[in-house]
Symmetry: C2
């Protein structure tokens, strides 16, 4: 397909030096898994760093093999002529610190013990993730990023980029994210974490070599997550009260409604591709994220970055109200922030689905950045 980045490969940056964390603890070494799409120009001024959400990874676009059924997680947004246009931009995406897709995380081997870290992995923050990403940007010898861009947790990372590296970011695209994780969102995460921690197969986080994994706990966490990613409207439209067998109630506890089936499927397919400990650590990092309005405005004022925010009308995880707070704080500090609300029934998931509606506004925004 001519709008695809084509066949891609994950690369690994290995840093054999201690990496200090916000908690005060350190990692002895750090591996960062990343992919790039498009060409870095001679001045190195066209790099866009894509930041993934909770369950994402470095594989944002393209396929590993021509026979792959699935493309990268934001393939509808990244490619020639797409929102993140690889004919103009050099797009980078790396797996976050704490992840399970190549970047150092709880399932990685602890060089001290030659065993997986498990629950001995130190707690990380969004700032730690961003500082790890910066190591990659330094490695690629990019002095200033044309843009940092992400949805959900990725949007929090984008905000953190401006705060931590105010002079290294020319612009930021912040999609469906907030200045601070709300009590309700902490609550949903907490129930998911408790499901994992209470799963007998979690084994205090040391399950990697046991032949048993906390599938149930992780799948429950994912089911809860999925309810929050969809909207009430989209669930009603997609499933309503549809029965799987269509023939009436079975009067038992089998998987009877389509919506039950969907959730179970989401839970089941997730455990095959994601590590339960990474889920614990990454949700904790999100819950820790907290820039209050004044702190954010002050931090933003130290940067000259232009900001584009996008919210989705039916997103109740990071609702328009919360995205507007980002814009308000940014405007107070930067005076260059815009807000775009996409009308969508897809809830929070819209940031992954509504590519066509996001494209014109992101394209226009990034084209302006290239010209400046």
């Amino acid at each position: 397909m001519k709008d695809s980045v084509g066949i891609v490969e994950t690369q690994y940056l290995e840093i054999k030096k201690p990496f200090k964390l916000e908690s005060g603890k350190s990692l002895d070494e750090l591996t960062i898994a990343y992919e790039t799409y498009g060409q870095l120009n001679q001045d190195k001024t066209n790099a866009v760093l894509i930041l993934h959400a909770l369950s994402g990874d470095a594989h944002a676009a393209g396929k590993y093999h021509p026979s792959d059924k699935k493309t990268g997680w934001w393939d509808n947004m990244i490619g020639p002529g797409k929102a993140f246009d690889t004919s103009k931009h050099f797009v980078i995406c790396s797996n976050v610190l704490g992840g399970c897709k190549g970047t150092t995380g709880p399932s990685s081997i602890n060089p001290k013990t030659s065993k997986p870290y498990g629950f001995s992995f130190p707690v990380i923050t969004i700032k730690d993730m961003v500082r790890a990403q910066n190591k990659l940007v330094e490695h690629l010898k990019i002095k200033k990023l044309l843009s940092v861009a992400g949805g959900s947790m990725g949007g929090m990372e984008a905000i953190q980029w401006i705060v931590t590296y105010p002079k290294k970011v020319k612009s930021a695209v912040i999609v469906g994210a907030s200045l601070s994780q709300s009590a309700q969102n902490i609550a949903f995460h907490e129930v998911g974490r408790q499901a994992i921690l209470s799963d007998p197969n979690w084994q205090n986080g040391d399950y990697y070599d046991s032949g048993r994994r906390p599938f149930w706990g992780l799948s429950a966490a994912r089911m809860i997550g999925h309810i929050t990613y969809l909207s009430e409207q989209s669930m009603q439209q997609k499933f309503g009260r549809l029965l799987r067998n269509g023939a009436g109630y079975t009067y038992d506890f089998s998987t009877e409604f389509e919506v039950q089936n969907y959730l179970k499927y989401q839970g089941k397919s997730f455990v095959e591709r994601f590590d339960a400990n990474s889920y614990l650590y990454i949700t904790k990092a999100i819950d820790y994220f907290n820039l209050d309005y004044d702190k954010a405005a002050e931090a933003f004022s130290k940067s000259e970055a232009d900001i584009l925010t996008i919210a989705f009308s039916s997103d109740w995880l990071y609702p328009p109200k919360q995205v507007k707070e980002v814009v308000k704080a940014a405007r107070q500090g930067l005076k260059k922030a815009s807000y775009y609300e996409v009308k969508s029934d897809f809830g929070h998931d819209a940031f992954l689905i509504e590519a066509k509606k996001q494209k014109p506004v992101i394209s226009g925004f990034l084209n302006n950045q290239l010209k400046k």
Copy 2:
């Protein structure tokens, strides 16, 4: 206190005859736990049947002993001079079929085996609950109820009363309830049920004599429930990002945020008072509840009952939109239905909390019914 119903006692109606269920199965016998407050008048025309929600019971008002710290679950609404005024009305409340507070449910002894039913208990519906309540009303020799009233699942029962016994109800007070359980609400219930079913201590529902109970599963289900009972606003106001120790992040997975602590407490205290199997059966009954708009309007048209509905502005479990559907269907059928929206930040829980705001409208409505 002069506005209290005082010291009360739970009574038991034992029906030693088979009770047929909507599923086609039967229970060999049926016990109904109930309480009454106030005096039944000579004509037996002042009886109000209170219908409880998922985790409620027959103990709606007063105390069992003067030293009890806790009163019945709707004590702020039931008593002399209160919304359900026991100086005028004879108030009845019974534990629902499938419950665990005296009425026959999965923890009851199966007369066939002399052991608790456990998971061999038949699946029940809201209609079955209402038909069991009608047995009690018959026992009390009440021909027509002045009103049936309840919030949440109790509101669904009130709707079902009009449908099943159109001539036996003079009026209904339906609070925070819908004509049909939404996909999102089924989804939340399903994750809670899966938590119970996956708890190794659940033991296929046969845990009563094992010394182990599915505490974790039930507590997870309750935690999820509690998030849906509160509103995003009330959680933010009540907890926000408050830390338990107040001194900054601990960088571990302990109970760090107040909102985590609250949820854990809610989960923990619930498992001490509620049976996990009852949770499975009652949530399933709620999920089965489904009167589409046309069916409801037709059913309502066979009754002469006046209907009062109450919704809460921040209720996202049974939001105003869904309560308005009840009114619409009722108006089409009955032409006598009113809608009252209480402005409240308490979410769905408002039906238990906002007694003062509900009182005038319920009092006025019931006084009119008494006069008719």
